[in-house]
Symmetry: D3
Subunit: 248 residues, 6 copies
């Protein structure tokens, strides 16, 4: 039995529920999977500013619940605060952006990301480069829909997502499609049926990879990038953050 | 229940047994895992020439047993014939080189590969570039031991592997170590205990990723790179290859 | 006359004062330069976790004072929250990491970064890749000193910084040295005198580049990556953040 | 006088004859050039699976005839088994894919490859990256024709090849066109006359480069990647392969 | 007070005057800025051949006037002879191509270059790669106009430049536009007003960066790439070149 | 019969003679090979400044003799003016730097360049990146000797070259050595005998590649980068340059 915490970094409870449903659909029978949102932050995440707020809220969530879970999934495609969370726990922390890109590489020669509004594209370009898989990324395509519009009107979302996915396959050389928003997860099968190549929801991928890391009893490397924060004073921060920094 | 076939592309039966043992140690309870070697080929694989022979033998093995398994793992770090095998089955085919590199990226900022004799290094450089993770690869370090020497003298192997892994961490910026030979798999814990960062056996990683792909019901994309071979005449080949080519 | 706000994202007031002094030494005569720290956050910034806290504190600082300045400099070498701050103002926002790397490219063929403790190295590797100048970066070298130790013992800091800078020049091909911590700024001349190549403090570089952008009357592009945040509800956040998100 | 063996790795005898003709048209007067196909394998090569079969057949061909030639050309654009063949002979082994890309770089700023059916494109993307010339490769464009259709209907092939070559020049920045299939070689002049930039047949390029290497008395480096295979037992392989492996 | 020499490497006096005007519009009040053309060379620069002639003429100009200025700007977008000029003076030498690309990175996620006739595109591709910012460069787009046609018909130039800039923003992901010819400088505001993102003239950027380097009292690194030329005999060259080479 | 002009861009007549000797040793029997130096320029070329002077002198040499030769080799490892010369003739123009790097890729997995004094290293780094083969370049190593010292003291040169070549093979992964100076050409066999991997003189490589291009009847692409210079006025230039520019 393993316990995985999926954090939806935004505060849209409906989306948290739909993320939970799709994650549970594919998690192992003996995985106890909990999905929740932080106590504060934006209703949806589409820019760097919102990533920063949601990132800190995600850190506090991991810090508070660290002892209760075996692994953590951060279910926002920009992978906010994944690096920081790796510093405050030894347990695996997996972002859904990185998870879907790594899984995509096992199923096809190149992948494309189909995401929300155009402003999200530069964030994902930076992410693909940070992960290192930019040479495997055929393209990053946007739709006209915000995160909350996808939640509100999934039929329209599917139409646009299918159109962009088809263009990615026909014009850009994509062989796998990564859904570039946690809120798109429940639509994976509908898009896949329409486009005929594997379509990946990052949350499912991240849960499966978290299960894999836990099964192999591997924790995050503490060699340098993800060593615990040094012991130091924090000014004006929450108790949970103070506890981390004062203990180092 | 899922069935995974692990193919050790060389014909060293002792290594096949040890690969099987380490893979089963971490596979899910409901995974039925079979490990075998092809009917022909070299005792070990350390160069392009041997990869070519073993690659064809691996293809024939997958072709013969395709219907009986849900996924295939190719347990040689150079990932021989992985691309080709993806063409002759819809089911996931995972190489242990790619598997360990993708998993390593989830556990640390950069990884190094510690492998057998120096001549294997260029093969792995090419592989890291092909997979696209060259910017995440801190270094590829060799030992003085051949594949069969590692099998024969694991204590000496551990000594050399630990020395190279420590150098990779201290000098090259490695935060995770990938074991660059399937035969090194049983030594993962001994090396990890000595070096203090996650040490990954590719076979375990590949089995876990194969399980993940099957759990998510994803098959290999047939969009282009891994479409089935075209229907055409083969001259002078085995019945199993003839069947593939003549049916397309 | 132009007004530039230099934000030291940590809450070490002594460092804020020393940053202010070095920045004013080179700012134009008609530049009114103010340096301050956020109201909350860590005493120093050496990891992703601290960057996340300090990043949000920096955003709030920019948001509160946006109307009063012509440009903003974020004086921490990891460039925390630079992207996010560009979304909440039209005025130029310059990070000291990017600033020093761009300036270095105008003075030599390759630069090296000499920074604090080893755990900062991966952060700067990611930054150099994000900025795009990884091919111009000869190496990133660390010392044994934390940010606060550099502040406390500048003589020891100079000794270590000179040693690493000399090694970067002799062994790595560096022709310019970037000081990888705002707290190292006051030591630029001492290191430069010892090593004989240009040594750049990022804060000075960023102030000069901010002056340049203002002089050329250029603001941040709002085409996509740095468009204003969309209008949406924030839960449980400060009034200054609420004002941004509710107005879009 | 030098002797060059051109191996057409597929078993289409008509194509072997046409490759021979175009190679002899440009070979030096004192070069004795022989072109042949292996004893077994597919009629044409368009996927990884067929490359694996043809690759092993090519290795056996080189092994059998190694003593009789001064250099070897492997006349299939994916460069199958080039690395392996370099291990079993000291003499130069040149693939036509690499040969045409290197030559193209001497005649224009960027080249495009025009090849057969779309599924060949990912193979050539991987090849361009392996060779290292991806930044010089403007694009890889496919036609609707299989290898054997090009052989059967050269007029239709020229029409499609010219269309793609013109698009590569006008839209992608190509200044030289590489013909991405040995079977396209006889059409080089017809395409060149229509598009007005140099059009290169890989076989001719490889023969000329093989001549160059022999003239300069250079053999393949045995430092690491192409050292002779280690001495070891092969199970169930042909006598010619056994001889290589048992002798090391 | 600082003195900056802007060299228009071509011999079109009208262009020299217009470069001077735009540079002075944004230079600091206490900067004494002089713009001039070399004594010989082509009327405009659009190819490598012309860059070579103009490059040597620029070197001679810098050599003759080295003592009289604090920094040098080379106002041709291909940055001819920038490297060479850095060898013959300790003072900052800034090319307008590099200057605009570095500045663009501070204002947007990616930039595009809009330049003169298509043949200039490969030159700028090479330049972006040399500078290292190819991953930040969204595209390089050409118009139908030569350098002198832009000078002669600015209205037509604006129409074409706006069309290409809009396409770069809409199709290529550009967030900032760099004007890829010194002669386009006076049109920066007209293009910017039409396209709505920052539009940068390289000459202005280079003057501002030269001011910055001088303000920070930084000179060109003499560590290796830009060390003074070795002392040696020149045959048949001008007195100013002889003086450099004979003194070393 | 073909006529190849080898231009030694410096004015050291002894070096011109030794370049001629090594080139003729390997050129085809029916190649008429002429080697000469320009009428003006530096005695040797070790920096950008000298490349600029020698580059223009090389252009004038090609322009004057264009009609008399079938191909041109520019025998200085920095490949000065190769791009420009390609604009003023349709005939192949090959630089010795690019030639040796392309040839090296056919003989080993990676190559290193062993060159003259350290200041030449950045020039060759830029060249390897421009050519696109930076991923195949294991390292660029310098000696303590200038070009003229190599000419004057070949025994000492061989000692240093062998030391650096051995280090490149043992430490950097080099499998082929490129001699990074035309003056090192006559020492190729002595270095090769000492280090045991192929050692390439660029001049020989370039002559062989020029022969190849001529044999295949290929000329330089005129699509864009190397189109003839536009027709325009030159001020104060030599008659041969005036003739090019005034005719376009």
């Amino acid at each position: 039995m393993m316990r995985i915490l999926v954090i939806n970094p935004n505060t849209s409870i409906e989306m948290t529920a739909s993320i939970d449903a799709v994650a549970k659909k594919y998690a192992a029978a003996d995985t106890v999977l909990t999905t929740l949102s932080p106590a504060y932050g934006p209703r949806s995440i589409e820019c760097h500013y919102e990533e920063q707020i949601a990132g800190l809220a995600t850190i506090e969530t991991v810090a508070q619940l660290e002892a209760e879970y075996d692994a953590f999934v951060i279910a926002c495609y920009g992978d906010p605060a994944v690096d920081a969370c790796r510093e405050i726990t030894n347990k695996p922390v997996i972002g859904i952006g990185e998870a879907s890109m790594h899984m995509a590489c096992l199923l096809g020669h190149k992948f494309s990301i189909v995401t929300v509004i155009p402003r999200a594209v530069p964030i994902m370009e930076d992410l693909a480069r940070k992960i290192g898989l930019e040479s495997r990324c055929a393209s990053i395509r946007s739709t006209s829909l915000t995160v909350l519009e996808i939640e509100a009107d999934p039929d329209r979302a599917v139409i646009e997502m299918v159109a962009e996915a088809k263009a990615a396959i026909a014009q850009d050389g994509a062989e796998v499609i990564c859904l570039g928003c946690a809120g798109m997860g429940p639509l994976d099968d509908r898009v896949q049926d329409a486009v005929g190549v594997p379509v990946l929801d990052g949350t499912v991928c991240a849960v499966l990879l978290a299960q894999s890391a836990v099964a192999y009893r591997k924790s995050t490397s503490k060699a340098a990038a993800y060593a615990p924060p040094g012991k130091k004073e924090l000014v004006g921060c929450s108790p949970v953050l103070n506890r981390i920094s004062l203990n180092g």
